[in-house]
Symmetry: C2
Subunit: 245 residues, 2 copies
DNA sequence: CCGAGTTTGTGCTTGCGTTCACAAGGCGTA
DNA sequence: TACGCCTTGTGAACGCAAGCACAAACTCGG
């Protein structure tokens, strides 16, 4: 277990800083909630209040934060500013990250103009597109360059994060070129499964998949309510069985 | 326990149709992979091949598909078209869903023009915006209407899915109005935690959070490689400890 | 009809994440 | 100082998901 130490004689256990992936995914949410609380003038916050603001339960908040260290005070709560600082540091947001966006279509435009990036220390190092007609266009204060400039851009700006906002058919090639140029983290918006070599982190955001998941649940609800109206006396067991289609 | 029934005489077990959430999230990926395979002229596909195309392992594919029923043939694989049909049905994609998009900024534009929607049976029933200056604008063949028309639109089109692409500060109010109008599934792109009443499904897509997660891993990699170059002989335990900062 | 080869469907194990519940610790008041 | 109140930090139980490994079931060739 973490935090359990044995003296030199009995062996050693490195405090394992392997923060669970699920926790990492929630830290940005806490960060945002804390920003709101700080704006609201709160100096400290309890796990309960933070949980409410972040849309999770308080046990999860406490356990998540405990992975960062013991930054709370029993009987009081957490110091808002200090916690913001600790989470930011853990997420690597105390430094600036240069981001390269490939694909300046509708989505690329939306991304380039999205204010949430700069706010968290993500700087758009370059906008690239394979279509020469788009080259030269200026967007969010950055001039669009041709995809062939990728290597140079990555070298010059030390960009380590790449965003793919191209059509699906171009995504894998762009991905390969990003990796070849030295990018080690990729965020993919194209609706395809990409493959990257080990050591490169890949995350995807897929609009269509999200809608399909909603569709699944929506269908389920529809089936349920249809049953409820045609057979209002049916008990839960019957409902469940009937949904079997 | 869901689905456990006892029959009159001996005992009974209704095939438990509670498909795990993790599986539901993968079904759309399989669907896309299958579409590609169908285009490629494949009539059947093994779990191995499908796994490769979907970027998961074959055991997961088989287990996922087994929740839908026994649609495979041992020694052969799965019939591509039949599987597409079954997954579509399970996801509720055999019917059309009317979708209402609120917020016609950069992201709203990107969403409206995103081809992947129509392709899967999601029809844009309306584009709404609170800014009257945007009203009348035509986008992807749909005229932008004012947010106040929401109730009427939802009633007329029987839309059950709403997409929030507004600025953060407006999101909760829009969300409430969607719910009040009768929408029961919401996809939120605004960077805030929304609350909805029970019975309404809410999913969120957050660009900034994805980047922050990448930042976390990127930082980790940077720390590692920095160590590797300054102390090439350090063993793993030492590395791990040093990363403690 | 038989046997070799292939691929599914699934029981079981393992690991991760969530939640509970409470002891430990800090604060304020008398 | 002592006591009551509040909130954290975390051990432990639980539940869901992932992955392994193999029997069952099908095809095909002879």
């Amino acid at each position: 277990m973490r935090g359990v130490f044995r003296g030199p004689a009995a062996g050693w256990r490195v405090k394992d800083r392997g923060i669970p992936e699920a926790t990492v995914a929630r830290l940005p949410v806490y960060l945002r909630a804390l920003a709101g609380l700080a704006d609201g003038g709160h100096e400290t916050v309890s796990s309960d209040a933070l949980a409410l603001a972040a849309g999770v339960n308080s046990a999860k908040v406490r356990k998540d934060l405990s992975y960062l260290g013991s930054y709370g005070t029993r009987g009081v709560g957490y110091d808002v500013n200090y916690l913001v600082h600790q989470i930011s540091r853990e997420l690597g947001l105390t430094q600036d990250w240069a981001v390269v966006i490939v694909g300046v279509g509708n989505l690329g435009h939306a991304l380039a103009n999205y204010g949430g990036f700069a706010e968290r220390g993500f700087r758009i190092a370059a906008l690239l597109d394979a279509d020469r007609r788009r080259v030269g266009e200026e967007l969010a204060g950055v001039r669009v360059r041709h995809l062939d400039d990728l290597d140079g851009v990555v070298r010059d700006t030390a960009a380590s994060i790449g965003v793919i906002a191209t059509p699906a058919h171009a995504a894998q090639e762009v991905c390969d070129r990003l990796v070849a140029a030295g990018v080690t983290s990729i965020l993919n918006f194209a609706p395809v499964v990409l493959t990257v070599p080990a050591g490169v982190d890949l995350r995807k955001v897929d609009l269509s998949i999200e809608l399909q998941i909603l569709s699944f649940h929506e269908q389920r609800k529809a089936a349920m309510s249809r049953l409820r109206t045609t057979a209002p006396l049916a008990d839960l067991a019957d409902l469940a069985e009937a949904v079997e289609r």
